[in-house]
Amino acid sequence: MSSIIGPANFDFFGIFPASILAFILPVVGVGIFAYIMARRLAPLVRAAPDYRFDHIGRRIQKLFVIWLGQIKQPRYMLAGVLHIVIFAGFLILSIRSISLVIMGFSEGFVMPGFSGWVGVVYNFLKDYAATFVLIACIIAAVRRGFFKPARYAVPEKYGKDHTAEAIFVLGIIATLMISESLFEASELAYALKETGEAHFVAPLTLVWMFKHMLSGASFEFLQGLHIFSYFLHDVTFFFFLCFLPLGKHFHVITSLFNVFFMRLDKGKIKPVQHGVTAEQLDDLESFGVKKLEDFTWKHMLDFYSCADCGRCSDQCPANAVGRPLSPRFISIKARDLMFKNYPLSGEIYKSRLLVEDIYTEDEIWSCTTCGACEEECPLAIEYIDKMVDLRRGMVDEGMVPQSLQKPLKALEKRGNPYGKMEKKRADWALEKEFKAVHTIKHLAKDKADTLYFVDSITSYDDNIQEIARHTAVILQRAGVDFGILGKEEKDSGHEVLRFGEEMLYQDLKEQNTQAILATGVKQIVTADPHAYNALKNDYSGLPPVRHISQVVAEKITSGALSLKPCLEPDKVYVYHDPCYLGRHNRLYEDPRQALDAIDGLTRVELEKSRDRSFCCGGGGLMLFYEPEEDTRMGVLRVNMAAEAGANVIVTACPFCLVNIQDAIKVAGKEGEMEALDFTELIVRHLR
């Protein structure tokens, strides 16, 4: 081996042992890091409880898929690939970095298990890892600094641009890669020069290149470079470690925990407080999130974990239409507040009402709970539960816009947001032509296997009542023995829960649950995805719930329903995924399968479809809310459908139908485009 002196045996100026410095650096570095982490943990200790220690097996699986597998990353291809390279590089090089630190005071240290062939393979791998990480850093820096993708921009109201921090960190990573490679290359060049002995070096790696560049250097230079690059690496490494918890790169540390503790159940809303049952709610002093410390510790961990990648806001429909909401800044503003209120030294500040301090009321009401942000986040950060918790807090303080107070009061008094009479809930079945042919069973007096849960909009809205009649026709033709609850049915409360009026939701849930269980039905069918999600995920103890599209798909397969060839084969159809059918319940294929069973029907796909579907504008109480916005979500959606070459937008949700029908008018595309409910298309084609 070479006779270059490693840091463990080197003496500065011939007297001061470098090993002392190499020992002090990690001790100080780890000490400072531990102190910072302790301060960072302070708010989490004061936070609300959260149960995240269940389903360990599923959590480990998520860890493999989302954290280690980086499954979400390639959804944004270039940034995703760059991240995967840097992430994989970090994992590989972490072993090398730790051995390097120990090598500083223990000459010739080798990680246990890395002495034999494992070490050889590892060396080969880590040289490429370092090289690729450096290349990825350069591309990322050029991309961030010159091309500046729009999603990283920071609107003025949210503070200063974050580019400098991003490039600074890329510089740190690049320094680590270069110094590590120089450390090794200087040793190899020294050995080659002295003994003529050439060690195998993975070709085209940084080490390989540096070794060639250093072939003409003097022994003194190589020795100096060896020690210099060692300490450059050491100092940078510990600086980086302590810098991580100070900004968006905290995710390097927290991501592992954030993904492990992620929310496992889609479509559900967290309880008001973990460990407090519905019956005990009346005893709670306060409801929802009003101050920083009202968030759960996991939600605080979310704030720490945000990598500021902007994917959530890039997918957020509220952000797209210019509503005052950008999920990215829900996290960033809260993280900044945590840093400010829990400083690294000195006193902890008292927190104020969040909606007056860092958020605005409109910001929190702007969310349609479509879930696009959560679907996209590579770190599994949650937003819907936070929105609901913040709304619970606002409702408790009486901070509810006038536009929502009326429908909420109507829901309390009449069980529907329109304030219509309970006894008129089943009037949709009394339409002359329909009534002449069909009789609908009322489960209060008749018996049936299946309950058709209609919900408010389909029961009361003049246009949407068609969906109820179409659904009834489909069920009858498919031979399903069904009935309705009539005036015993109340609003499912899906949006009541999501708009933070917990106690009203509990009332509605209670009334519906009792009414449903009293009928003794074996299954529930609905054509409203919001009702579907409520009964399936929010309620408990009910018979199985199915959406009408599932029934149709099944009955087509079994032969109980058969469909005519397409009546309008010249038209181009596109299916719009309703959020609460698709993203929240993963029902993507059944409606498509049913559409494709219509012979000769031309169907195209929207670019944003399935789990990337774009919200139509929101359902339930969102129809009453008057947001500040530049355009409507529905209008953007109609334009997307037009770009996809479609002229019929088929959807499977009454709210989507309302929003898209309105949007077609607003977009001036009447006559060119039409919106159609899934049930109507099926009924038209029933044989």
Binding site: L281, D282, F287, V395, D396, E397, G398, M399, V400, Q402, L404, Q405, K406, L408, K409, A410, E412, K413, R414, G419, K420, M421, K423, D462, N463, E501, E502, M503, L504, D507
Partner: protein, 262 residues
């Protein structure tokens, strides 16, 4: 500042479809839902905001039956400190003057700096506030859409004038004001809020407690009486369009086109 707000339980216009009863002299009240009179809700919100800034307490009072207690609780859930229910069989059938007389009796038992009423309630008469002020011999401002507290003795009140102009007046305390909607944005009262005040004691006072002569209130004292209640007959040139919303819109557009309106 001690503030009293007079409120009333009324059929909720937003949540009801009104039909006449078979006798044809009143609404069919069997299937109605009730809530606090909308104007009164604004008055209570204004009172709470004044007390938040200037200190004091808010008391809500209503004349009605047992069921009227629900609106007092709702207003207390909003933030009113006390509630008083004025209830007596002898109060039934009171006209506006009778109601004002009952309220006056209660007001004289306390010491209030400011008395608020809604500008009007379900019957649209808008009379109680003015009569109450006259009976108490207090200054009165109607249709108030802005209140600024100057000091313990004087406040400024605003009123919107035809055409959107605004006037401000100084008025000496104690006084009576009738409050217009739009003066503020009343806070939301959730079910949770109402449950929190569900067990708070609300005193009930009858004619005897108030020292009222039964002959001056209720049916006995009423000098105005409703004799009829009806939906006006369609006049010349008026026509009801029938059908679904779409059909109605279509017919309307046709008619507008035919008459050159479009």
């Amino acid at each position: 500042m001690e503030i009293l707000v007079c409120v009333k339980r009324v059929p909720d216009t937003a949540e009801n479809e009104f039909e006449l009863n078979s006798a044809g002299n009143d609404l069919d009240r069997d299937d109605l839902v009730y809530s606090v009179n909308e104007w009164d809700n604004y008055a209570v919100e204004e009172a709470i905001q004044i007390v938040d800034n200037a200190g004091g307490s808010v008391t809500v009072v209503t004349v009605g039956d047992d069921e009227s207690e629900e609106v007092l609780r709702r207003e207390m859930a909003m933030g009113a400190n006390n509630g008083v229910l004025l209830s007596d069989e002898g109060f039934e059938g009171s006209d506006g003057k009778g109601i004002a007389a009952i309220l006056k009796a209660e007001i004289e038992k306390g010491k209030y700096d400011l008395i608020l009423t809604g500008a009007q309630a379900d019957e649209g008469a808008g009379q109680v506030g003015g009569m109450l002020a006259a009976m108490l011999d207090y200054p009165y401002a109607s249709l108030v859409n802005k209140i600024e507290v100057v000091d313990d003795a004087v406040i400024k009140v605003g009123r919107e004038i035809e055409g959107g102009n605004q006037e401000m007046n100084e008025i000496q305390l104690p006084c009576v004001l009738s409050i217009q909607t739009g003066i503020n944005e009343p806070r939301y009262v959730g079910i949770r809020g109402i449950r929190k005040v569900a067990s708070v004691d609300i005193p009930v006072k009858g004619a005897g407690d108030l020292g009222l002569d039964a002959a001056t209130v209720g049916d006995a004292g009423a000098k105005t009486r409703r004799v009829d209640y009806f939906v006006p007959d369609l006049g010349e040139g008026a026509e009801m369009l029938e059908g679904s919303t779409d059909e109605i819109i279509e017919k309307l557009i046709e008619k507008l086109k035919a008459k050159g309106g479009l």
